[in-house]
C-alpha cells in the first residue's frame, strides 16, 4: 500500500522511480476510500474497476517509455463534470441514473495526460450552496472535525483531498466553490481566470461565472494540475486562446519584491478574529520576507453579493431548464400533459435551494423587472470589474480571508440561506470580475480548524498567485 499523505508531485516521482505502479497507487486510493468514506461521505460514486483498467494502461504506457506529470495519477472529479461512461448526477435526484455520453474537455485533457478517474465527489446540488449539505444524497463531513461541514459546493473534492481519500481533485467555482471548501478543509484550491479553462462538458450553473480548477495538497500540485487543464478550447467560445505559461516555473519567484494589496473593504468587522489573525500573521511574514504591502480599495464590494445572486440565478434559471424529463434524467410517473410532465418531474427532481434559485432567477428576468434587477446588476458588475482593474495597477496580488469564518457545524447555517449567502462575500467578487484566486492554508483557529488565505490575481495572472501561494505555503510551514 502506498501512503495516502502523498502529494501529486511526490506520487508522480514515485511512479517515475518505479517505487510503486499506478495500479498500486490506485488500489491504495480505493482502499482509503473504502476505509474512510463511511465517515466522510466525500464520494458519490467510485469506479474501481474502470480506474484499475486506466491505471494498468498507464503502467503499460510508462513501460513503453511514456512519461508525464499526471500519467497514472488518480484524480477525483466533482460530480458535475462529464466523464464518458460515468454517472454525473450533480448531486441531484433529477439526474439519477444519468450516465455521461461524452467527456468534458477537462476530462478529455486529463485522460490524454494519462490520469485515472477514481470516483465522483459530492457537492451541493448543481453547485448551489456553500456547505455540501445541499446534496440530494449525503452530507459530506469535514475531515478535521466530523461534526462540521467541508464547505461547498466542491465539499466532496476538498474533503477527499484533505482526508486522504484522493491525491488531487477537480472542483468548480462559481462564487467561491473551490476556494471556500479548500479553506474549510485545509487544502489548496485554485479558481482560474474566466476563460482560462474550458467549461465544455461541465454542467452549467452560472455560465458567465463558472470555472473548473484544481484542489490539491500543495500549491505546486495545483500548478501541475492547472497546466493540464488550461488552454483555449474550440468547443467553448468563452475560453481565450492565450498561451499557457509554465506554471511550475512561476513558483520559483519568491515573495520578495511582490506588491501585496490589502483591499480595505475585506478587512472589516464581522470576520472571525481567529481567521483575521491568521491572515494578518501571514501578511506580516510576507512583509518580513521582502514583500511590499499596499492598501488598496475595491469600493463596490458591498454590492457583490446582491449582483452575484441576480446574475447567477438568472443564468441558472435558463441553464437548468433543460432538466425537463423529456430526454434524460428523472421523469414523473403518468403525466397528464406535457406541462404536467415538466412541473412534476422538476418538482420531484430538484431540491429546495435549487428551486429557490430558479425562482429567483426567473423573477429577476421577468418582463417589468429586468431593468431593475438583471440590467442593473450587469452595470454594477462592470463597476466591480473596474475596481479590480484599478487596484491591480498598484499591486501584483491581493491577500484577503477566503471566508469570514472557519468551517461551521453541520446544520448551523443551512436553514438560513441569507447567512450562507453572506459567507461568500470575499470569494464572489473574483467570479464577477473574471479574475483568478487561490485559497491556501495560512494557519488554524483556536479550535484547530484550518484557515485559508485568498490570493487574488488579475485575469490570466495565475503565475503571480501561484508564486505568492508557494511563498505563503513555505512561510506557514516554517
Amino acid at each position: 500500500m502506498v501512503g495516502m499523505d502523498l502529494t501529486l508531485c511526490a506520487a508522480a516521482e514515485g511512479l517515475r522511480k518505479k517505487a510503486f505502479s499506478s495500479v498500486e497507487l490506485t488500489q491504495s486510493v480505493l482502499a482509503a476510500i473504502r476505509e474512510k468514506d463511511g465517515a466522510l461521505n466525500a464520494y458519490l460514486s467510485v469506479d474501481g474497476e474502470g480506474a484499475l483498467k486506466q491505471a494498468a494502461a498507464a503502467d503499460a504506457a510508462r513501460a513503453a517509455g511514456r512519461d508525464g506529470d499526471l500519467l497514472g495519477i488518480p484524480v477525483a472529479v466533482k460530480d458535475l463534470i462529464n466523464v464518458a461512461g460515468q454517472p454525473c448526477t450533480c448531486a441531484s435526484k433529477i439526474l439519477t441514473g444519468y450516465v455521461a455520453p461524452y467527456d468534458a474537455t477537462v476530462s478529455a485533457r486529463l485522460r490524454e495526460a494519462g490520469a485515472v478517474f477514481a470516483g465522483r465527489t459530492n457537492m451541493d446540488e448543481f453547485a448551489m450552496g456553500s456547505s455540501t449539505e445541499g446534496s440530494a444524497f449525503k452530507v459530506t463531513r469535514n475531515p478535521h472535525d466530523l461534526t462540521r461541514v467541508p464547505g461547498g459546493s466542491s465539499g466532496g473534492s476538498a474533503a477527499a483531498v484533505a482526508g486522504g481519500e484522493a491525491i488531487a481533485a477537480l472542483g468548480t467555482d462559481t462564487g467561491g466553490s473551490i476556494r471556500q471548501p479548500a479553506a474549510f478543509c485545509g487544502c489548496v484550491g485554485l479558481k482560474p481566470s474566466y476563460g482560462r479553462v474550458s467549461r465544455y462538458g461541465v454542467t452549467a450553473y452560472a455560465s458567465s461565472l463558472d470555472q473548473v480548477g484544481p484542489m490539491t495538497r500543495t500549491v505546486e500540485d495545483a500548478a501541475v494540475l492547472l497546466q493540464a487543464l488550461a488552454g483555449g478550447d474550440p468547443h467553448d467560445g468563452t475560453t481565450l486562446d492565450v498561451p499557457v505559461p509554465d506554471y511550475r516555473a512561476a513558483l520559483r519567484g519568491g515573495i520578495k519584491g511582490m506588491r501585496i494589496g490589502l483591499p480595505r473593504e475585506y478587512y472589516i468587522d464581522g470576520t472571525d478574529p481567529d481567521v483575521m489573525a491568521c491572515v494578518r500573521r501571514t501578511v506580516d511574514a510576507c512583509a518580513a520576507a521582502g514583500a511590499e504591502i499596499v492598501e488598496v480599495s475595491l469600493p463596490h464590494t458591498e454590492y457583490a453579493i446582491a449582483v452575484y445572486y441576480i446574475v447567477a440565478t438568472a443564468e441558472a434559471s435558463a441553464n437548468l431548464a433543460r432538466f425537463d424529463g423529456v430526454r434524460y434524467g428523472h421523469r414523473t410517473e403518468k403525466p397528464e400533459s406535457v406541462f404536467d410532465l415538466y412541473a412534476r418531474s422538476r418538482a420531484e427532481g430538484f431540491g429546495t435551494e435549487v428551486k429557490r434559485r430558479i425562482i429567483l432567477g426567473t423573477y429577476v428576468l421577468s418582463s417589468g423587472y429586468y431593468d431593475a434587477y438583471y440590467g442593473c446588476a450587469q452595470k454594477v458588475r462592470t463597476l466591480i470589474r473596474n475596481d479590480f482593474t484599478e487596484a491591480f495597477k498598484r499591486c501584483d496580488v491581493m491577500f484577503t480571508p477566503v471566508a469570514p469564518t472557519a468551517a461551521y457545524r453541520i446544520g448551523e447555517a443551512c436553514n438560513d440561506p441569507l447567512k450562507m449567502y453572506l459567507g461568500d462575500v470575499f470569494t464572489v467578487p473574483a467570479n464577477l470580475a473574471g479574475i483568478c484566486g487561490l485559497s491556501v492554508p495560512c494557519g488554524r483557529t483556536a479550535d484547530g480548524l484550518p484557515v485559508g488565505l485568498q490570493i487574488l490575481g488579475p485575469a490570466f495572472g495565475e503565475c503571480a498567485v501561484l508564486r505568492a501561494g508557494q511563498a505563503v505555503e513555505g512561510e506557514v510551514r516554517t
Binding site: A206, A321, R322, V338, Y342, L365
Partner: protein
C-alpha cells in the same frame, strides 16, 4: 373594402444553406431517420456548449447586403426562454437586442407601380425540433433542432394578400440569387408568421394586431390572409371589437383559430447568451463579403438586355428564376455572338414548355446549356430545319446527348442539295397535277400544299426555304 385599410407585416424564417447546424457540427441532410443527426449540443445535454457557425453569420450578412440593410459591427445573441419539447435546452438562442442586420427593403410590383416594403431587421437564431404526432403519443425529431434560421422582419408596409405574395416571391428570388438558401418550401426552408390588422380609412392608429402562425406555403399564407381579413372586417363592420391574440392557420379546415390571447402572451425573459461572445465584424470583412455579392435580379435583367440584345420582356422572364437565367447565359455564351435572341426564343418557348410539361427545374433535366447552344447553332448554320430541331430538343431534354452527334448518327441534316430536291419536286408535281392546275388557275394557296408534299416526301428533312423557292420557280416556268 375600400373604406377599410389593411395592414400586414411578415416575419419570415429562412433556413440558411450551411453544411452544419448553427451551434454544432451535425449535418443538415434532409429526410434522414429521426434523431440521427444529433449530438450532446443540439440535444441540450448537461455541459454542452454552443459554438458559432461562422458560415451562418456570413450568409446572413450577405442577405442583409442584398437587401440594403445596415450591418451591425457588434452583434450579440440572447436566450429566449420557453418550455416546449421541441427546444432541447428549453431556451432558444436568438438575437433580441443587437441583430446582425438593420433596415433594408424589398421592392415589389403592384398595379399602382413599384412599392418599397421596408425591412425592420434580420436576426439569426436556431430552429426547433420537429414534433410528430402519432395515435397514442408524440415523438420529437431533433434532426432539425439547431438548424440556422435567419428571421427577416418586415415593417407593416403590406396592404393586401397579393402584396404579401409579391413580397415573399421577391424575397425568395433575392435570397436564391444570393445563394444563402434554397428557399425550398416543401422542405420548410421558408416559413412565415403574419401580423395583420384592419382599420377604417382615415384612422391614423393601427387596428388591433393579430398574429397568425403555422403557415409554410405561399398558398397557405394567401388563404390565411384572405380568411383573416374577411373575419376581422366582419367583426369590425358588425360593431364588434377584435382582441389582440395569436391565431394558428388550420389548412384542413381553411380557417384561423385562436391559440392564445394577449394576457397569455409568453414572457420570454430574454437575456444575453453568456456562452457566446459578441460577434464583431470589421469593415474590411464586410467589404470583402460585399465584393462576393451576386448580382441582384434587377441588375441582371439590365445586363442581359445589353449583353445578349434581348428585349426587356425576355430578360424579365429569364431573370425571374435564377437557374433559368444561369442556363440561358451559359447557352448564349457558347453560341457565336448575335444569337442571344435566338437562344432566348428557344428557351422561352420550347425549353420552358418542356419544363412546365414535366414539372422539372432546368437543373433537373438532361439538357445542358452546351447542348442547347449546339442545337441553336445547327439551325443557324442551316444543318437542320426548325421542325427537326424541335423534335431533337424534346429528345435531348429527356435523354441528354449531343445534338450534333445525334444529327450525324440519324442522318437528320436537312436536304439543301438542289438536284435532290428537284427530284422530289418532279415526283410531287407528277402526283399532284390537280394542285398544279389549281395554282395556275389562280389558287395561289396550292403552292403551300405542294411545298408541304415535298417536305413530307423528304421525311421533313428538306430545307423548307429552298424547297419553297424551287417550287415557286417551277410553277412560274410552266406559265
Amino acid at each position: 373594402m375600400s373604406q377599410y385599410v389593411i395592414t400586414i407585416g411578415l416575419e419570415t424564417h429562412v433556413q440558411l444553406k450551411t453544411a452544419t447546424k448553427m451551434f454544432c457540427g451535425c449535418s443538415l441532410a434532409f429526410g434522414e431517420e429521426p434523431n440521427t443527426n444529433v449530438c450532446p449540443v443540439c440535444l441540450g445535454y448537461p455541459g454542452a456548449l454552443p459554438v458559432m457557425n461562422r458560415e451562418a453569420i456570413r450568409l446572413t450578412v450577405l442577405s442583409g447586403l442584398m437587401l440594403g440593410c445596415e450591418i451591425n459591427r457588434h452583434s450579440t445573441f440572447d436566450r429566449k426562454n420557453y418550455f416546449y419539447p421541441d427546444m432541447s435546452k428549453d431556451y432558444q438562442i436568438s438575437q433580441n437586442t443587437h441583430p446582425l442586420c438593420l433596415g433594408g427593403s424589398v421592392t415589389i410590383g403592384t398595379p399602382e407601380g413599384p412599392k418599397r416594403i421596408r425591412i425592420n431587421h434580420i436576426h439569426l437564431e436556431e430552429d426547433a425540433a420537429k414534433i410528430n404526432h402519432y395515435a397514442r403519443f408524440s415523438g420529437v425529431d431533433f434532426n432539425r433542432c439547431g438548424t440556422p434560421l435567419m428571421e427577416i422582419v418586415s415593417e407593416p408596409d403590406l396592404s393586401s394578400p397579393e402584396e404579401a405574395m409579391a413580397y415573399l416571391q421577391a424575397l425568395k428570388q433575392i435570397l436564391v440569387y444570393a445563394g444563402v438558401s434554397d428557399c425550398n418550401l416543401e422542405e420548410g426552408n421558408m416559413r412565415s408568421d403574419v401580423n395583420i390588422s384592419v382599420r377604417p380609412a382615415g384612422q391614423e392608429k393601427l387596428g388591433t394586431k393579430v398574429e397568425i402562425k403555422n403557415m409554410n406555403t405561399f398558398k397557405g399564407i394567401h388563404a390565411a390572409l384572405e380568411y383573416e381579413i374577411a373575419r376581422q372586417l366582419a367583426v369590425v363592420k358588425s360593431g364588434g371589437t377584435l382582441v389582440q391574440e395569436t391565431r394558428r392557420w388550420d389548412p384542413e379546415l381553411g380557417e384561423t383559430q385562436s391559440m392564445r390571447g394577449k394576457e397569455n402572451a409568453h414572457d420570454y425573459r430574454y437575456f444575453p447568451e453568456p456562452d457566446l461572445v459578441p460577434v464583431e465584424l470589421s469593415d474590411e470583412l464586410i467589404e470583402s463579403w460585399r465584393a462576393q455579392l451576386p448580382e441582384a435580379p434587377a441588375a441582371r435583367r439590365e445586363r442581359m438586355m445589353a449583353e445578349y440584345g434581348i428585349p426587356a420582356y425576355d430578360a424579365g422572364v429569364l431573370a425571374d428564376v435564377k437557374e433559368n437565367a444561369d442556363f440561358f447565359e451559359a447557352a448564349a455564351r457558347a453560341c457565336k455572338p448575335g444569337l442571344g435572341k435566338t437562344v432566348s426564343n428557344w428557351f422561352m418557348t420550347e425549353v420552358m414548355r418542356l419544363l412546365s410539361e414535366t414539372g422539372k427545374g432546368v437543373g433537373a433535366c438532361a439538357l445542358t446549356p452546351a447542348a442547347l447552344a449546339e442545337l441553336v447553332t445547327l439551325v443557324d448554320e442551316g444543318v437542320i430545319n426548325g421542325p427537326t430541331a424541335k423534335e431533337l430538343l424534346s429528345d435531348v431534354f429527356a435523354k441528354g446527348g449531343s445534338p450534333r452527334a445525334i444529327v450525324d448518327e440519324r442522318g437528320l441534316a436537312q436536304v439543301s442539295d438542289v438536284s435532290a430536291l428537284e427530284a422530289f419536286i418532279v415526283q410531287v408535281f407528277a402526283e399532284n397535277a390537280k394542285s398544279v392546275a389549281d395554282f395556275r388557275a389562280g389558287k395561289k394557296a396550292a403552292a403551300g400544299f405542294l411545298v408541304g408534299q415535298v417536305m413530307k416526301l423528304s421525311k421533313g428533312k428538306a430545307d423548307p426555304k429552298l424547297a419553297g423557292r424551287l417550287v415557286a420557280e417551277r410553277l412560274a416556268e410552266g406559265q
